[in-house]
């Protein structure tokens, strides 16, 4: 047993931590959010230089050959800095489909460029009415001679406005909720028939609804086997969920640190409000929630890296996500409440942490969704 980061993981944590403290403070972040793209090319370039973009990619393609555990510390730092650059959609999701399911040609065409920071991906999956059900894919891909023609509409595609290519799930056979018949395609974001409705998300990232209308892609755009993509989608989404759990730890740390500092410095009735027992106990409960969440983030990251039984992996990632979602709600709501009016102001970083935690609580499935999946996979 050893819960410490190894030397390489710790070095990465330190360098990202330093970068965020120095170049990604709250003011810098505010400017990035308000910029046209909502993403800094400079920051992305720095991530590439640090090797961050290649950690979960095989060494022979220029990566580090690591997993979620290797990214945990980086995700924590990203969380603490409330980084809005599309690391999760591009590296945590998009690159994983190519790395785990792509052909050699696809890997070579995409991953080295992605690692160098020259290419970004996004994952176009969610559809209206799907909620968190990954098998709910109504977007269709039909064979027409040598090409596939894709038609459908995807919602909340995180990072889509910044992506060069989209990984699109589409149905090549069967009905909307069938487990079989889902395929994955690489689609140029700028391809004819692809149109985006871009927006800022609640947690100040860029996303879009994507309409695909008669989009033609070649046979080489298919990732993996035709009709058999659900298992890969579940695997990659579990991986991204584990990363998000690690990110949540960092966001909660920000919220808890800020709240603790506020309790120590804010005076009312002549004393710091942290001397009131009613508030002390609530602060303690926030810290306990964050500790429990950290444990479950460790579990999720370890399992997505090493668990070979998909059902067991899914069950434990769900267990982690339930705890993380509950902790996100608890910590975010209490952080605002204990800050009083100041917590409501957009001028304080803690209100932005609140917004990120609110999204994480629902991202890749809320507590109810994961409770259901956890219970359904119980084999005892």
């Amino acid at each position: 047993m050893n819960f410490d980061y190894n030397e390489e993981q710790q070095l990465l944590a330190d360098s990202i931590g330093r970068f965020i403290a120095k170049d990604y403070d709250f003011e810098a972040r505010k400017k990035i959010v308000a910029s046209k793209d909502g993403c800094s090319a400079q920051v992305w370039h720095t991530f590439a230089e640090m090797g961050l973009l290649g950690i979960p990619v095989a060494a022979e393609l220029g990566g580090f050959g690591g997993g979620a555990i290797d990214l945990m510390s980086a995700m924590e730092a990203i969380g603490e800095g409330l980084v809005v650059e599309p690391f999760l959609p591009s590296v945590g999701l998009g690159a994983q489909f190519v790395a785990r399911g792509g052909s050699e040609a696809q890997k070579k065409a995409i991953l080295p460029a992605l690692i160098e920071g020259k290419l970004k991906l996004a994952f176009a999956q969610t559809e209206r009415g799907a909620r968190y059900d990954l098998a709910h894919v109504a977007t269709s891909a039909k064979k027409a001679g040598k090409v596939w023609v894709i038609d459908g509409e995807k919602h909340v595609v995180l990072g889509a406005p910044l992506a060069d290519k989209l990984v699109v799930s589409a149905r090549t056979s069967g009905k909307p909720a069938d487990a079989k018949g889902i395929s994955l395609f690489l689609v140029d974001r700028a391809a004819a028939g692809v149109s985006l409705r871009p927006y800022l998300t609640v947690d100040e990232m860029r996303a879009a609804d994507v309409v695909l209308k008669g989009v033609e892609v070649g046979a080489d755009a298919l990732i993996g086997k035709e009709g058999g993509a659900l298992a890969l989608i579940e695997e990659v989404v579990d991986f991204a969920t584990a990363l998000t759990c690690a990110e949540a730890i960092g966001v909660m740390k920000q919220a808890n640190d800020a709240t603790l500092e506020y309790l120590k410095t804010r005076k009312q009735f002549g004393v710091p409000i942290g001397t009131f027992q009613a508030l002390q106990h609530r602060m303690v409960d926030m810290v306990i929630a964050a500790e429990q969440a950290r444990s479950m983030a460790c579990l999720a990251c370890a399992k997505v890296d090493s668990e070979t039984d998909p059902d067991e992996r899914k069950r434990l990632v769900s267990a982690a996500k339930v705890k993380i979602a509950d902790a996100c709600r608890h910590v975010s709501q209490e952080a605002i409440q204990l800050h009083g009016g100041m917590g409501m102001s957009e001028e304080l970083k803690v209100s932005h942490a609140f917004r990120r935690l609110t999204v994480i609580a629902q991202q890749f499935g809320d507590a109810e969704h994961h409770l259901e999946r956890f219970a359904a996979l119980d084999r005892s």
Binding site: T126, T201, Q268, Q337, T358, E372
Partner: protein
């Protein structure tokens, strides 16, 4: 024991409900239902419709325009407004400044301000909280020094709701910094927002909305005639307001409307191809809130009945209603956001906005915004302090 309204009360409720349904403009109803921003004009338009009907200030004495309704009728009216989804009646003039003037004001002050409040000619805001004085209001520092026929005011207020709409502000200011008890050096002052030296700075909340402000006072000259009651008696005035009959702090009517909307909305969302409302996990959460709301409504009616029979002001009961009422409002806003699942993530379009689902996108900001309810008007922690002190003697 009878938990029901009397036939007369029911007839009154139907009359109010019927009138509201017929007279609430459709565009205002829609704006409220879709959580849209209400402009000063929106608020004043509804104010004037009610003023014209004679229902804008039910609790005022009849000579000033009150309706002569009893306690239960006033409660019914307020809850029906919430249930119908009318724009809120901004309380600062109607139910804060006016009751103070009626109780403590001079005849001249009443004549000068009350008709204008009634008609919506003056928009009022409240200057209480300061950066260093929130829950501990009596520590406020904004200073008013008497010089000849006026006070000179210097200092700062914060969280001043709708100060950017306001024509007038009533403030608690410190007129005597040497008073033995700090509460004794506080006075209640009325100020014209156009007076030189008053600056309003917006405070944007985390949902991106502008509803509160900082207000700065820099050598602001206020005529002595704008002092309410006696100098140094501002705390008495403020305490009177706290104990003033406020029986709708639970906001039952508004929450009932939100609950009905949530049910309707959840029936339109799907989970696994079925309406979300049929999902046991979601349904249970919704039912729990509904039961909480039922308990609160009956509690509210019990307090109301007690007040009617004893004639005693509500005291710590109001705190209980505030705590439970705000928790319910927050729970409803959270369930509404959870009902759309991943589609709650969009916040605002980054170009154009064509095809942007602004209703779904408004649900998370609304959830963010509702966090204020357990903080404002005496945080729920302060409300618990009040109950433990006043009701339990702890």
């Amino acid at each position: 024991m009878d938990l029901n309204y009397s036939p007369e009360e029911l007839a009154f409720r139907d009359e109010v409900r019927g009138w509201l349904n017929a007279n609430l403009p459709a565009d205002l109803r829609r704006k409220v239902a879709e959580y849209e921003h209400l402009t000063r004009d929106d608020l004043l338009r509804w104010h004037r419709i009610l003023a014209k009907k004679g229902w804008i200030a039910p609790s005022w004495p009849k000579e000033w325009g009150g309706t002569d309704w009893n306690l239960v009728q006033r409660y019914i009216f307020e809850e029906e407004c919430g249930y119908a989804g009318t724009p809120p009646l901004i309380p600062f003039g109607l139910s804060m400044c006016a009751p103070v003037l009626l109780k403590f004001g001079s005849e001249a002050q009443k004549k000068r301000f009350l008709p204008r409040i009634y008609n919506g000619d003056d928009f009022w805001c409240q200057g209480y909280s300061e950066p260093g004085s929130g829950s501990d209001l009596a520590s406020l520092k904004t200073k008013a020094v008497r010089q000849g026929d006026h006070y000179v005011v210097n200092g700062q207020k914060i969280w001043t709701t709708l100060a950017h709409y306001a024509d007038w502000i009533f403030c608690l200011v410190r007129t005597d910094s040497g008073a033995a008890k700090r509460q004794e050096g506080i006075s209640f002052l009325l100020m014209d927002m156009k007076t030189p030296g008053i600056t309003v700075r917006p405070l944007i909340l985390m949902d991106g909305g502008h509803e509160v402000n900082e207000v700065f006072f820099d050598d602001v000259k206020v005529p002595l005639e704008n002092l309410v009651f006696e100098e140094g008696k501002g705390w008495t005035v403020a305490k009177y307001l706290l104990g003033h009959e406020r029986m709708n702090t639970g906001r039952i009517g508004a929450s009932k409307r939100e609950l009905a909307k949530l049910k309707e909305f959840a029936a339109e969302q799907t989970k696994g191809g079925r309406p979300l409302i049929e999902d046991v996990r979601f349904r249970d959460k919704l039912s729990r809130v509904e039961i909480e709301l039922t308990a609160l409504e009956i509690t509210n009616l019990r307090f109301l009945d007690q007040m009617r029979r004893t004639g005693q002001p509500p005291g710590a009961d109001v705190s209980m209603l505030k705590i439970k009422g705000t928790e319910i409002q927050q729970a409803l806003s959270e369930l509404m956001m959870q009902a759309v699942g991943p589609l709650a993530q969009p916040f605002r379009p980054s170009d154009g906005g064509d095809g942007f689902d602004s209703f779904a996108a408004g649900l998370a900001p609304r959830y963010c915004n509702m966090r204020k309810t357990t903080i404002y008007a005496g945080s729920n922690e302060i409300q618990r302090n009040i109950i433990s002190k006043m009701a339990l003697g702890l």
